[in-house]
Point group: C2
Chain length 219, copies 2
């Protein structure tokens, strides 16, 4: 598999997760910052290789083989992210671009050894699950902070948007995975929330809340 093929497979995988229908050519093009015509070309190639199901004008979806391939790439990406944070002290807004390169290194043994070095992590630094060697993973039971009621207590377990700008914002405001969060108030007017995080009170916009995942504390 070429690097480019891998990137397409990964993109189709990520787009496919949201809704279950076929992914559109334009959506792929937009996410990959390329042109729809280029996407069509590549889709045909991937279709030849039985990695995607494709009918002209009908969008595209991953085959089982394609899904397994995608999971392998996601596994590599997320393991490298853990490595960068845990072993090389990178901050979570710096790791994506580097992991994007590292995910294309070809060596099963390397990835298995890395997995072992990191002690078989189940989640990456953004809280996303890491598929195991067989592609199996468990999505964590979590809710967006914007969708829980007043009084809810939980722990921050992930972010939906993992852009550098959002992650840097979180850093500046001392919000990190593992922190205890309680929703104290929800403002009717603009949907902003008053929360306590790690004993401190702060006000966050609806936009922030709708990109933070929490795991609600057991009673």
């Amino acid at each position: 598999m070429t690097r480019s093929e891998e990137n397409y497979i990964k993109t189709i995988f990520h787009l496919g997760r949201q809704g279950m229908e076929a992914v559109s050519t334009n959506a792929i093009a937009e996410l990959m910052e390329t042109k729809p015509s280029s996407v069509t070309d590549m889709i045909k190639k991937l279709s030849e290789k039985d990695l995607v199901n494709y009918k002209r004008y009908q969008g595209v979806s991953l085959t089982d083989l394609g899904t397994q391939t995608a999971l392998g790439i996601v596994r590599k990406h997320r393991l490298w992210e853990v490595f960068l944070v845990e072993k090389l002290d990178f901050s979570w807004d710096e790791i994506h671009d580097i992991a994007e390169q590292l995910e294309h290194i070809k060596s099963d043994k390397l990835i298995d050894r890395l997995d072992k070095l990191l002690d078989y992590p189940k989640f990456d630094p953004h809280g996303d699950p890491i598929p195991d060697k067989n592609g199996d993973f468990k999505e964590r039971d979590r809710k967006l902070l914007s969708e829980v009621e007043i009084g809810t207590k939980g722990v921050c377990v992930g972010v939906k948007d993992s852009s550098a700008s959002f992650l840097k914002f979180l850093d500046r405001n001392h919000i990190a995975l593992g922190h205890q969060i309680e929703v104290l108030e929800i403002e009717e007017f603009d949907g902003s929330l008053n929360i306590s995080i790690n004993q401190n009170n702060m006000q966050i916009s609806h936009q922030i809340a709708s990109n933070l995942y929490i795991k609600i504390n057991e009673q």
Copy 2:
């Protein structure tokens, strides 16, 4: 710099080290398992970018810029090799191909952090020196085992040939960096040596001896 450009620069660097004259097109082609005509194409491109000095039919040599570039690549390659051996328990015959991929990852910060994680190693697992951030390195004072006299004592510090087949041979025969070696006898007829290595006596061919570096013990 593209991956391919980097590979050419690295190859020219390695060929340039042996003798100081310009490197021939054919030599590059052979080492890279490509055709001389392809080499000519790339050399022109590198020349445009001021990475090599080139005059038609006269061979090629690295400019200062090219040399610095090459040292950066070599630094990355060798640091990754140390990582693979020290942190992921790879054996020294397995690391070359993987490091060949990892050396193209683009991130200065990554390499500096890796350097730190490994505690700023000065030599790679084959005993070759690792350039520092500025491209500086010190060649170790060493001799080929085939070129010392009877009675010489020293410690194994490197290999000249680092092909997998040679390295596997060394593993099978329990020869590794750091081992104490003494030359007990040299056979006139075929140049084979009788040595003691880590207290054990063994017979090695001239070919083996001419690919093992030792650092002669101080008196």
